[in-house]
Subunit: 359 residues, 2 copies
């Protein structure tokens, strides 16, 4: 690995100092913001995530705020997800598509209060798109990027810890539900969500003054639960089939191809006509590799003899399942049980398409 040269252009977060004190060893850059990727090692970080509780600086999930008389109409114009079915107090995973149905982002949206939307972004400057659409369509809204930063709490002991810090009512928050809860002299929005399959919360912090007191409080209360600083883990998220925008899918892929067809519920949105007429030619699949892959820093071809069946876009070695775990995109002619050859930058590895992800 090479070093990451710091600069003012790459945002530090309210917790970067704490993350560095806790021993982060590698970052990535996500929405021009530092995102921790490794503390001890990704395999040790993964083992710990599955057994205890971790505190994650995921402030790189930048927020877009849309408010005004046409906020609901604009939101529905942006996504094929039917937002009328999203109940108050619930988060919604909302693929955002271009006119061709290509994925521009796959954020989580919620209404922190009636008439206001927050969109919690994957890695693209979606605000530019939202503002361009709003301006062009004459929507009466204001679009901004509020400085709301997210602290994640993930792992099997996250519910216990959240109950101690925020109160027993956090136990009753359903998956993808959220509550505003008092903290310090303010409030934070606590959502049961997050980028692991171990359970936990994302805490939307709307005020820099609450940021380090929250970190410190969680850390102190978490000591008895073996709390550590952590981060989205490449192994665990692939085992769980959690997709990464920019890695596993991008603008060249539709929600159907990305395995997100169940979120295409209406066609009166941007890209709707293309999605209605869409014929799916490839699919996201779980891929098992026979040996430990090298670092997946580029796409790898999946070959069926001389024919390219598709490509692998994310991969890691799983200690738990004792195999390489990968996310692939393959043509519709291939399916579970098919054995292919994965051509990495270093070697060729036997790959098998699985029925489903590991978790």
């Amino acid at each position: 690995m090479k070093l990451l040269a710091p600069s003012n252009r790459l945002r530090r977060t309210w917790w970067s100092d704490a993350v560095e004190a806790a021993g982060v060893s590698a970052y990535t850059v996500y929405n021009k913001t530092l995102l921790p990727v490794v503390f001890d090692s990704i395999s040790e970080d993964c083992r710990h995530l599955k057994t205890a509780v971790q505190i994650w600086d995921v402030a790189c999930e930048r927020q877009i705020r849309i408010e005004g008389p046409d906020a609901d109409a604009l939101m529905q114009r942006l996504t094929p997800r039917d937002l009328e079915r999203v109940k108050p107090g619930k988060c919604a995973y909302v693929p955002i598509c271009d006119v061709n149905g290509g994925m521009l982002n796959d954020p989580v949206a919620l209404q922190p209060r009636p008439g206001v939307w927050w969109i919690s972004l994957a890695d693209s400057d979606l605000a530019l798109w939202v503002e361009g659409v709003a301006m062009g369509g004459g929507y009466d809204v204001s679009v901004s990027e509020p400085d709301v930063q997210i602290l994640g709490l993930q792992g099997p002991l996250a519910t216990e810890l959240a109950a101690e810090v925020f109160g027993e009512e956090t136990r009753e928050i359903p998956f993808f539900g959220f509550l505003w809860l008092p903290f310090g002299d303010g409030e934070v929005l606590v959502a049961r969500s997050g980028y692991s399959k171990q359970g936990g919360f994302e805490i939307y912090v709307p005020d820099a003054g609450l940021a380090m007191p929250l970190w410190d409080r969680l850390w102190a209360a978490g000591e008895q639960h073996d709390i550590r600083a952590g981060c989205p883990n490449a192994i665990e998220r692939i085992e769980g089939g959690m997709l990464s925008y920019g890695n596993d899918m991008n603008r060249a892929d539709t929600p159907f191809e990305a395995g997100l067809g169940r979120y295409v519920q209406r066609y009166d949105c941007i890209g709707g006509a293309a999605l209605r007429a869409h014929t799916q030619v490839r699919q996201i699949v779980a891929i098992e590799l026979s040996e430990a892959p090298p670092v997946c820093d580029r796409e790898w071809a999946l070959m069926d003899g001389d024919v390219q069946a598709g490509r692998v876009r994310s991969a890691a070695w799983s200690d738990e399942f004792q195999c390489g775990v990968a996310v692939g995109m393959v043509g519709m002619d291939w399916g579970p049980g098919d054995r292919l050859t994965c051509v990495t930058q270093d070697s060729e590895i036997t790959a098998e398409i699985r029925e489903r992800f590991w978790r």
Copy 2:
């Protein structure tokens, strides 16, 4: 410095393998693409840049292509620069603003052939904005991101080397002029431009098959000129007053505040009304620091006693000028000769506003 964790989401370029073989030690991430930042050290890289010639992988300057009947009209809608004054065969620096006149990007645009525009991006997903505006305004255009990657050739010996590789006519290319020139079995666009004050070229390579042959040819011909792999250099670019979008200015700043008022030539563009009504409240200035600053990984306050006069956004130590060199943004009440205190993460440094940059 921490490590940069590689992933498929962070694009490698056609030259990343060559850059690594040449000994890159640190990257940044720019438009989700790897951009080399340090080879030996920034001071040694700087010294060499000023004396010889360097080959730069600046493929992170991603391209947007706009073509179609309304391409010219859309381009003019996007920028306050008067594009009618831009002659064929010339590049144009075109600030792009939002409705408030805030800078969304400061790309270089050119017409590789009549009726087609390429926009060579600074660090933001401007294609999302351009497409949103085009869709909303009903412009008859197609907008795409072609895989055209740029190889830079910078340094006092760049002209000599370019003449040897591309022919004597490259000597006649004026500043910000360009020519299509044959290379291998194709053509490359050679522009006299680039992100240093040492002179040189940016070579737009429209075909992956030409990429490494071009690198190898330049490298071989450059040996007698002490060619090295290099990159935009933080010291040299600050000495020369070359601004960095995301570091020195961003959406919160107008072109006037960023010192780019001379490019505001028309007001019939997005943001035009705001720019016409604009009252400038701050200004970009050169700042001399009395000692070597720490790494500028965040904004530093510039204090005039107890009053904040502004902030420093980029800084480095200059061996040539034997002082700290910095880019600041200060209120209109301050000017050349004013002595301020720069508050970094480590210490307080004496700072003086200069009349102009060093080069």
